[in-house]
């Protein structure tokens, strides 16, 4: 498969896997048509032509795509008419994921996805043979972190494995599941009150329930068998039932960490830990996976497990000890009891949340800019909010409703600390 000058191609079956569900649908439609024979010769011929054209397109797409490592860059060339050649500097790799949809697993293939910093999006090599992908990932990670290139696959230490029972429990107590219950109850009530209402409810329910089921399934697949392990190059996160993913978050690339405790999970002491790395989602291949929601590192865990991971991600994090003044209750009546913040020379922490409790940590070395915002209500109450902006997708820390004068002092102090942290 190796072309001249170190160019490599993807696996020849890649287009079929990339077409994914479409391929399966085609098989389901075509196999009976051909097996049935005679019934519609023209029909079958038409289908065959469509299939051949699609296969040819896939083949051409595969033929014109190639990649190679050039020093500290990964170059991917693709496109027949609009040729594109992109170079991804490996020093800016924020995380490397391997993604294996069900079909790819059957065929022993793996997608390698490099998340880049800034607006660089993601470099995707879809698909490679699984073994080759693992070797390449180790090599790219080594190049990205500047380690020895042909170092042996380092050993890892498993920190947390999420039991399936807990995943099911957490899903039963999640938003989509509750929606499901509401709809079922509404339908039952509608039935009890006679036909037309029930029909109306059931009719409107079908698309919602479908979407709901898909969302639940995704979350389940994402959380199934989640394993978090510490390796020398960073944190490894694996999960999945049908589509399996494995992420590696290199050390020092964490922009922010967020611990979420949904209100329904509180009785069980469960929480979710999300880690934000740089790189905004612009890539089409990412949209498909609906990554507007952060992929949690720990989809559902106990507080002790989360605490251990937090200690690893942001060592010796400060406690949120300072509270906003009581008059802030007028502005944030629901949130007030959760509002708190704190910072030291390396890290800032803030808690918030109306129903759920959300605690966010931001290393000061990752602060991109600081903002002080004061709305009209806040001005009357003499409080203001300090935002710490990071390059992450979603998580940032905000010190809400800090006393007016204190907020200015804290802003000055944070500017100083962030500068010192940057230079260190």
């Amino acid at each position: 498969m190796t072309a001249p000058e170190g160019w490599h191609r993807l696996h020849p079956l890649s287009p079929a896997v990339r077409a994914g569900r479409l391929t399966i649908a085609f098989l389901i439609i075509f196999v009976p048509t051909f097996a049935g024979g005679g019934s519609g010769g023209w029909d079958a011929a038409g289908h065959l032509v469509v299939l051949l054209v699609l296969a040819a397109l896939g083949f051409v797409a595969w033929l014109v795509t190639r990649w190679r490592i050039e020093g500290a860059h990964l170059r991917i060339e693709t496109g027949l008419l609009r040729r594109s050649s992109r170079r991804f500097p490996l020093s800016q790799v924020q995380a490397i994921d391997t993604v294996r949809p069900g079909l790819a697993r059957i065929l022993g293939l793996t997608e390698l996805r490099l998340r880049m910093g800034g607006t660089g999006g993601a470099a995707s090599l879809a698909y490679l043979p699984h073994r080759q992908a693992l070797v390449l990932r180790a090599r790219l990670l080594a190049l990205a972190t500047g380690a020895q290139e042909d170092a042996p696959e380092p050993l890892e230490r498993v920190l947390v494995t999420v039991p399936v029972r807990r995943v099911l429990g957490s899903l039963a107590l999640s938003g989509p599941a509750l929606l499901l219950v509401v709809y079922v109850v509404a339908t039952v009530v509608g039935l009890a009150h006679g036909g037309s209402a029930a029909h109306a409810v059931a009719g409107s329910a079908v698309p919602v329930l479908l979407g709901d089921a898909v969302a639940l399934w995704r979350r389940f697949n994402r959380a199934y068998n989640a394993t978090i392990a510490a390796a020398p190059e960073g944190l490894r996160v694996r999960s999945g039932l049908v589509e399996t993913t494995a992420e590696t978050i290199p050390e020092g690339r964490v922009q922010a960490v967020q611990l979420v405790e949904p209100v329904l999970w509180r009785p069980f002491g469960w929480c979710r830990l999300e880690v934000d790395v740089a790189g905004r989602v612009h890539d089409r291949s990412d949209e498909r996976h609906d990554e507007r929601q952060l992929r949690p590192v720990l989809p559902v865990g106990t507080r002790a497990e989360a605490a251990a991971l937090i200690e690893l991600l942001v060592p010796a994090a400060p406690q949120p000890r300072r509270k906003p003044p009581p008059r802030a209750r007028w502005k944030s009546p629901l949130r007030y009891r959760r509002l708190a913040f704190g910072y030291d020379e390396r890290c800032a922490v803030a808690t918030t949340g109306r129903l759920a409790r959300i605690e966010a940590w931001v290393p000061l070395t990752k602060v991109q800019s600081l903002r002080r915002v004061q709305g009209p209500v806040q001005r009357r109450l003499r409080v203001a909010t300090l935002h710490l902006d990071t390059a992450g997708k979603r998580v940032g820390a905000a010190f809400r409703d800090v006393d007016d004068d204190e907020s200015l002092r804290d802003l000055d102090r944070l500017i100083e600390l962030a500068r010192a942290a940057r230079r260190a």
């Binding site: 740089a278 600081l370 915002v373 935002h387 902006d389 940032g396 500068r419 940057r422």
Partner: protein
């Protein structure tokens, strides 16, 4: 922070905002007045009067907002303050700047004004300075770029 050193947008920005408010109000008056005048001329006149009154309020608001803009170049970072109702103060360290944009819309261009916008790796950074004289804008851009170079830091 002492307010003496704060620099402000060009006075021409006030005139540009007057023009913007005027154009917006005239268009709104035309559409609203026209549609009400279809039923009766008196209704049309009242509607136009209401829109004009709204336009005056808008203009006053815009003028006061122009007065609230300010920026301060410090040794290591740029401060930008703005907003009347919601007061915002942004601090952008030079070392965190990814790039600096200078843009000018048609109205800004006709007043020889431009907007300077700073981008960091964070999407939430919202640092822009509108209504700078064109040459001042390009000078500021060059200064910021030079300082960014000197302070550059990785992600």
């Amino acid at each position: 922070m002492p307010s003496a050193d704060w620099k402000r947008p060009s006075p021409r920005l006030r005139r540009a905002r007057h023009l913007e408010a005027g154009i917006g109000t005239a268009l709104a008056a035309l559409v609203v007045g026209g549609s009400f005048a279809l039923s009766s001329a008196a209704k049309g006149a009242i509607a136009v009067a209401c829109v004009l009154a709204g336009g005056v309020l808008l203009d006053v608001g815009l003028q006061r907002r122009v007065g609230a803009w300010g920026y301060l170049e410090r040794e290591d970072d740029l401060l930008i303050r703005r907003g009347l109702l919601v007061r915002r103060l942004s601090v952008v360290p030079y070392g965190r700047m990814q790039f600096v944009d200078v843009t000018a819309g048609p109205i800004e261009r006709s007043f020889k004004l431009a907007t300077v916008r700073l981008h960091t790796a964070a999407a939430t950074t919202d640092a822009r300075i509108p209504g700078l004289a064109t040459d001042e804008a390009s000078r500021l851009r060059d200064r910021l770029a030079a300082r960014g170079e000197a302070h550059a830091a990785g992600l």
